[in-house]
Amino acid sequence: MAGVVLTLVLIVGAGVGPIVLPDPFATAPPDRFQAPSVMHWFGTDNLGRDQLARITLGLRLSVVVAVAAVALGVAVGVVLGLVAGYYGGAVDNIIMRVLDVFFAFPGLLLALAMIAALGSSILNLVLTMGVLFAPSMARVTRGPVLSIRQKEFVEAARALGVREAVIVRTHILPNVVAPIIVASTLQLSAAILIEASLGFLGLGIGPPNPSLGGLISASRTFMGQGPWMAIFPGLAIALLVTGFNLVGDGLRDAVDPRLRDVLDSRTAIR
């Protein structure tokens, strides 16, 4: 519950903030390095830009990128998982062995290498993280499919001559939706962290657009003059990730506490 509230507050803030707050790009050199005040809740940066406005805009971009990346990962991963689990045998073997290759890479490293090669843009961030997330979504999907495809109702449908695509879509998919939803929520928190890490390394959404990681990175030059520049963007990331984690945990416990092992060890990796 707390997680839902936290997440909603942040997302609404990200949606509304850039509209009602001062222009996040408007520089005002006389106002630079202002400490947090009634005028500027989170202070101003080295160019006098309102930090709260920049953080809400960064938050918005983070959420958009994370949601798009996870959606892509789910779309690709679930299809692969369904195919592998339903057909089993050689198909399963080939798909899962190929995915094993991606599990060998530390997530952030693969993202780094791909962004370094592709160049950083919102689209490339989404593509890269989608590639990163698809394998674990495929694993989460495949597991339950393996057991469900042997259930009587699936056999009955097959005996009735229902087409395979229909069996998978209407009889199998609904039974594996729960773990997929839980895993994608946890994946969202990983996506936020990876996006922030890339932003921090200067490989995220480039300037002038603020990214939460980029804001922290930029603050390092001005630590003496404006420590709040380092504090608030990190707080925003931490709260958003905590929110997604709480929601994911809550959903998992509500759906099936036994999912813990599968999800903890397979998807929470970043």
């Binding site: 060998a104 952030l108 592709l118």
Partner: protein, 316 residues
Amino acid sequence: MLKYFVKRLGMLIPILFGVSVVVFVTMRLLPGDVASAMLGSSASASPEALAQMRARLGLDRPLQVQYVDWISNALRGDLGVSMLSSGPVTPEILRRMPVTVELAFFSIVTAVLVGVPLGVLSAMYQNSLYDAMTRVASLVWLSVPGFWVATLLVLGASFYVPTWPTLGYIDFPTNPVGNLQTMLLPTISLSAYVVGGTLRMTRSALLEVLRLDYITAARARGGPERVVVFKHALKNALIPVVTLVGLYLGSLLGGAVLIETIFTLPGLGKMLIDAIQGRDYTLVQGTVLFLAASVVLVNLLVDMLYGAIDPRVRYE
């Protein structure tokens, strides 16, 4: 056991092959190619110069030839020559490796020394105030970005303990105390996430084991709870914890990239970032291949550890 190990080692070959293909292809995704990237600064690179550079780097040959060439050299331990420094890549990786290994080692040790005891206490006093607080703390640990912790630590240290050696690296043989001092803040930053995960996994795994019949039997025999938990339950509960800690190694290496950059530690992570920024593709390619291969190998070793913890685990 040895037979199983060799068999598992054999299964790694296709995975490592796949890894090398992914690394190779990723580096070829570069718009334009390495040659134009290298000549990039002199924007007016003539087609002749480009062709010459491609020939020098062997980029004018078919992709599969380039791949076979690269991988057969890699198998012999030769990862090519750095484009920026013109030095061989492999010795450079080996030279940087100890820093990263030390950082990862300290972080794992911290995670186990902090996460396991806190998790055990949390499970022993389930639903107490202490348990509630620890659960919140572990979630916060899991959610806080390590690079932010690192940034704040640098900020805090420069403010409150100006004499502390926050940035840079001191060799352990040269100055052991200085070495540990320079590693302290990076370790705290890098291990935060792993501490949280280890704590959570210890707590839930122990709670699960404590529900089993043999624990009820041990309690019925009248043993003190301390003995029941530490002698009977903990060993079984540690198996998923070991798995998780092993899996964390990959994310530690990823996190090390950020942490080493912030604290200017001359490890593999810092080298990788410098190589990416300097567009030194052979160095990037070699480092990523090396790191991914290490992760695969360590995970195999972790699997082999199960037998030591749980004698019921048989390797076949």
